[in-house]
C-alpha cells in the first residue's frame, strides 16, 4: 500500500491544523502566510492558555533570533529554527541565487554554513578546508581559507567518505575537526591557527567527522570509526588552549566511561551494576567495541546536562559479541564540567543492524498527559520516534515512523526494544526483508523544530535490506564489519521521505515521498517555510503547515548538506546550502563505485544504479535570497 504522497503534493495525514483545506495556489499561500502571522502574533501577545499544548523550545537553550547562525544546530536545543520571516510562504516562490562559491573539493559536502556578523564559514570534504566568505563584498568574496593538511592515509579509515558536518563559532573562534582525528581552533577574523590538538589515532580506526559543540569553556568532540573497531569516546577540550579536560569512553570500565555511582542515576535498573561496559562483552572485546560519538550533542543549561548518542557496536556481525554491549547504541546525559554520566538509555541493546544512535536530540518543554515535562525528541535509526524525559532518562513514547519488520515495539515499562526472534541474523545465513535497514529509518541528517507550528520536520529514509553476517577478524587499521548488506526501498517504492511530526499527537501530519533517501538536514523558519534538499540536487522550500511545494531549485550535484539562514550585512534574509553528493547514501556516485555489485557502498549498490546515471559528484555553495 502506498502510504505516502507524490512530488505533486504531500499527503495530509490529518486535519489538525487550523487552515484545513486549500489548494497550492497563490491565494492560499497568502492565506496560509496570514494565518501563520496571526498565530505568531497570538503567541507573542498571549503566550500560555491557547498554546499550552504546543511544545516549546526551552528559552535558555534557544535564544531569540539575532540574524546569525553560530552552530550547525542553530542553538543548544538543536532546533534549527530561525526567527527570520522575510522569506515566507507567500513569497518563497520568488527566491533566486544571490551568489555561489566553489569549495574546491568534490566529495560529499555535509557541512552546515555558519553566518556570523557578515561572514560565512563552512568546512569542505577532504582535505577539510575551512572557508570564510565576506558578505560585504559583491558576489561573496573569499575572506580567508584555512588548510589543516590532514594525513591522506586516513582516507582509508573513513567508512562513509571523508565528510565533515561543520564548524562551530564561539567568542571570535571557530572550532572544527579534520578527518585524521585532529581538532583546530581558528581565529574567525583572520583565519590564523590558535591551537591544534590530536584527539585520536587514525591508525586505530579513529576519524573525526562530527561538528563540535561548545559548552561554556569546553569544546566537545567525539570520534568516528565503529566500522574499524574504534573504541568510542567524547572528549572535552579546554577552549582556551585545546588541552584535554576529560574523556568519556563508550565502552570499558566505569572509571573510563566516567560512571560514578553517586552521580549516575539511570531510570531503568538494568543499567545499574559495576563495569557493565566490560562485563557485557566477550573478554577484552570492549577495547575494539565501537560506540563512537560522531553525531549531534545538545545541552540544557538549566539541568546542566549534555545529551548525545553512541554508535553501533563493532563488528556488525553480532554473533562475535554476545552481551548487551554497553554503552553502545544508546544515549548519555552527562555533566559538562567533569563528564560524569547522569543517566543512560539504550535504544537497541546488543545492536543487530548497525543502528548508530547518534541522531539529533531536540530539547523541548511539553505538556505531557497534563503534566509539564522537560523532554528530548530523538528520531531513532531503529524506526521509532522517542520522547524521553531529559532529566531522568524515562522513555515517555516510542512510536514507529516507518515500516518496521525487525522489531515489534518498545516496552515503555522496561524501556526495552522488542526484537522479532525470527529476524535475528545468523552467520552465513541471509535474513531477508529487514526494515528498517542499517542506515535505518533516519541517518545523521538532522530535523528542525518550528517554534511557530510546534512540529518537527524530519528528513528520513524508507529502506529495507537483506543482511548476511559473515566471519570477520580484527586487523588494526582495516574494516571490522562482517556483514553483506543489500538495500532496497520499503513499501511504496520511494526510498526517502520528508515529513512533519506532531510530538504531542505522536503521528505524522504530512509527508513528502522522495525517490532517494533524504540525506540533507532540515531548516524551519518563522516565515512558515521549511527547507531541505535531495540526492538529485533539488533544493526545496515547502509550506510548514501543509508540505506544499513553494519553490525548488536544481543545484549542480546531490545535496547531503544542512541548510541554514541568516540576515546579511544589507539587512536581507538569505538561505545557504552546500551541494555535493557523497557520504554513505551518495558514495556510490562520488566514489564512482560499481552497482553491479549489490554490496557496493555497504548495500546501496543494490538500488542506486539509476542515481549514478542521473547525478554527478561536485561541490558548490549556493546562497539564495528574494530579488531586491
Amino acid at each position: 500500500m502506498r502510504n505516502t504522497a507524490t512530488a505533486a503534493g504531500p499527503l495530509l495525514l490529518q486535519r489538525a491544523l487550523p487552515e484545513g483545506d486549500h489548494s497550492p495556489g497563490v491565494m492560499s499561500r497568502r492565506l496560509v502566510a496570514q494565518a501563520a502571522l496571526s498565530i505568531l502574533a497570538a503567541w507573542v501577545l498571549a503566550p500560555g492558555a491557547a498554546q499550552a499544548q504546543a511544545p516549546q523550545a526551552p528559552a535558555a537553550a534557544s535564544p531569540p533570533e539575532d540574524g546569525n547562525w553560530t552552530m550547525p544546530a542553530r542553538d543548544l536545543a538543536s532546533t534549527r529554527y530561525s526567527g527570520l520571516d522575510q522569506i515566507n510562504a507567500g513569497n518563497a516562490h520568488g527566491l533566486t541565487v544571490a551568489f555561489t562559491f566553489s569549495p574546491g573539493t568534490a566529495k560529499g559536502q555535509e557541512s552546515a554554513v555558519l553566518a556570523v556578523d557578515g561572514t560565512l564559514y563552512f568546512v569542505t570534504s577532504f582535505p577539510n578546508y575551512l572557508i570564510a566568505i565576506d558578505l560585504s563584498k559583491p558576489g561573496g568574496a573569499l575572506k580567508w581559507k584555512f588548510e589543516p593538511l590532514p594525513d591522506a592515509s586516513s582516507l582509508g579509515i573513513a567508512c562513509c567518505q571523508p565528510v565533515n558536518r561543520g564548524p562551530v563559532y564561539s567568542a571570535g573562534t571557530l572550532y572544527y575537526n579534520s578527518i585524521d582525528a585532529h581538532t583546530f581552533a581558528i581565529d574567525a577574523a583572520t583565519g590564523a591557527l590558535k591551537w591544534k590538538t590530536q584527539v585520536g589515532d587514525f591508525h586505530a580506526g579513529e576519524t573525526t567527522t562530527m561538528a563540535p559543540l561548545v559548552v561554556r569553556d569546553k569544546v566537545l568532540v567525539g570520534n568516528s570509526g565503529s566500522e574499524y573497531g574504534a573504541r568510542g569516546w567524547l572528549v572535552a577540550l579546554n577552549a582556551q588552549d585545546g588541552s584535554e579536560a576529560w574523556r568519556a569512553f563508550s565502552t570499558g570500565p566505569d572509571s573510563e566511561v566516567l560512571i560514578d555511582p553517586t552521580v549516575f542515576k539511570p531510570y531503568y535498573s538494568h543499567y545499574v551494576g559495576k563495569d557493565l561496559g566490560v562485563r557485557e562483552w566477550p573478554p577484552d572485546h570492549w577495547k575494539i567495541g565501537g560506540g563512537t560519538v560522531w553525531g549531534w550533542i545538545s545541552y540544557d543549561p538549566e539541568l546542566d546536562l549534555i545529551f548525545y548518542g553512541t554508535s553501533n557496536p563493532s563488528p556488525w556481525n553480532h554473533e562475535k559479541r554476545p552481551g548487551e554491549n554497553f554503552w553502545t547504541e544508546g544515549l548519555f546525559a552527562r555533566r559538562p564540567a567533569d563528564g560524569k554520566a547522569r543517566w543512560f538509555y539504550q535504544f537497541s541493546p546488543h545492536g543487530l543492524w548497525d543502528h548508530s544512535a547518534v541522531n539529533e536530540n531536540v530539547l523541548l518543554d511539553v505538556t505531557w498527559q497534563g503534566q509539564p515535562r522537560k523532554v528530548l525528541v530523538h528520531p531513532e535509526r531503529n524506526g521509532y520516534m522517542y520522547v524521553i524525559d531529559r532529566g531522568s532518562g524515562e522513555v515517555l513514547a516510542a512510536d514507529p515512523y516507518v515500516h518496521i519488520t525487525s522489531t515489534t515495539g518498545v516496552d515503555l515499562k522496561t524501556g526495552r526494544l522488542m526484537t522479532r526472534e525470527e529476524m535475528i541474523p545468523k552467520t552465513g545465513q541471509v535474513t531477508r526483508g529487514v526494515c528498517p535497514n542499517s542506515p535505518g529509518a533516519k541517518d545523521w541528517p538532522p530535523s528542525a523544530f518550528s517554534k511557530q507550528t510546534g512540529l518537527l520536520y524530519v528528513p528520513h529514509n524508507n529502506l529495507c535490506m537483506d543482511w548476511e553476517p559473515t566471519e570477520v577478524s580484527y586487523i588494526r587499521g582495516t574494516p571490522y564489519i562482517g556483514s553483506n548488506p543489500r538495500f532496497f526501498p520499503g513499501p511504496g517504492g520511494n526510498a526517502g521521505e520528508f515529513m512533519a511530526w506532531d510530538v504531542i499527537a505522536r503521528k505524522k501530519v504530512w509527508t513528502i515521498a522522495e525517490r532517494w533517501p533524504v540525506w540533507s538536514g532540515a531548516l524551519a523558519t518563522a516565515g512558515g517555510v521549511v527547507f531541505y534538499g535531495n540526492l538529485e540536487g533539488w533544493f526545496k522550500a515547502v509550506d510548514a503547515r501543509t508540505g506544499a511545494l513553494l519553490w525548488q531549485f536544481k543545484t549542480a550535484s546531490g545535496i547531503v548538506g544542512q541548510p541554514t539562514t541568516f540576515r546579511g550585512s544589507d539587512g536581507r534574509q538569505y538561505v545557504a546550502i552546500l551541494s555535493g553528493i557523497g557520504g554513505w547514501a551518495g558514495g556510490l556516485v562520488s566514489g564512482d563505485l560499481d552497482p553491479r555489485d549489490p554490496t557496493a557502498a555497504k548495500g546501496f549498490g543494490n538500488m542506486e544504479s539509476d542515481l549514478k546515471k542521473e547525478v554527478a559528484s561536485g561541490g558548490m555553495l549556493y546562497v539564495f535570497a528574494l530579488p531586491k
Binding site: T6, A7, A8, G9, L11, L12, S23, A152, S153, S154, L155, G156, I157, A158, C159, C160, Q161, E227, V430, R432, G433, C464, D466, E468, T470, E471, S473, I475, G477, T478, P479, Y480, I481, N484, R486, F488, P489, G493, N494, A495, E514, R515, W516, G587, G591, D592, L593, D594, P595, R596, D597, P598, T599, A600, A601, K602, G605, N606, M607, D610
Partner: protein, 185 residues
C-alpha cells in the same frame, strides 16, 4: 605436485575429452610454486611515461599461475575476505576504496601492478599488506582481484559469488516519483 586431473578423469571422460583438457589446467594444485612465481615484481612501475614498465615474461607467467588456475583464484577469494578487503572494496563494487570490477585503475590493473598496490599500499588509504601477508598469498589475492573484472580463465573463476546467494528483491530500485492527481484539492 598433486593433481586432481586423475581423480576427475572418471567423471570427465564420459562427457568430453575437450573438457578434460581444459579442466586439467584449471584443476592443477601447485602448493609450492617456484621462487620466481612467489617473488615480488622487480621492474613493474605504476605508469608508462618513460616507456616499458614491466617484465612482460614475468607478468605472463604470473597470469598463467594465478589467473588460470581455479585453486589459486579460490585461495585468493578466501584471503580477500580474511584480510578485510571486503570492508573497503566490497565484492568488487567498491566502498571506501575504489571498485575493482570495472576497467578503471588508478595504479594499474595488471596482476603485477595489483600485487604492488597490495604489498606497498597506496597514498590515499590503501594499507601496505607486504609485512602481513606472505608473497604467494598476495599473488593469489591479485589473481582473484583480476577475476572480479572478468580477467583470467573463465573456467578458473569461482562458479558463484561468495555472498548473498539469493535472488535480489524484485523491487530493488526506487521508482521515479511521478506527479499524480491530488486527492485533497
Amino acid at each position: 605436485m598433486y593433481s586432481r586431473c586423475r581423480s576427475s578423469l572418471a567423471i570427465a571422460w564420459m562427457s568430453s575429452v575437450a573438457l578434460l583438457a581444459g579442466g586439467c589446467q584449471r584443476e592443477e594444485r601447485d602448493f609450492s610454486p617456484g621462487p620466481a612465481s612467489g617473488s615480488a615484481p622487480a621492474t613493474t612501475a605504476m605508469n608508462t611515461v618513460l616507456g616499458e614498465n614491466a617484465d612482460a615474461g614475468f607478468r605472463e607467467q604470473q597470469r598463467r599461475t594465478y589467473e588460470e588456475n581455479a585453486y589459486q583464484v579460490a585461495q585468493g577469494q578466501e584471503l580477500y575476505s580474511a584480510f578485510n578487503c571486503v570492508g573497503c572494496h566490497a565484492h568488487g563494487g567498491g566502498d571506501v576504496g575504489p571498485a575493482l570490477m570495472d576497467e578503471k585503475w588508478i595504479y594499474g590493473g595488471e596482476i603485477d601492478q595489483i600485487y604492488l598496490s597490495i604489498a606497498q599500499g597506496r597514498a590515499n588509504g590503501m594499507p601496505a599488506y607486504g609485512a602481513m601477508i606472505p608473497s604467494q598469498q598476495i599473488w593469489q589475492i591479485a589473481g582473484y582481484v583480476r577475476s572480479l573484472g572478468g580477467h583470467g580463465s573463465k573456467s578458473a573463476r569461482p562458479g558463484r559469488a561468495d555472498h548473498l546467494a539469493m535472488p535480489a528483491p524484485s523491487q530493488a530500485s526506487p521508482e521515479p516519483i511521478r506527479p499524480t492527481q491530488r486527492d485533497d484539492s
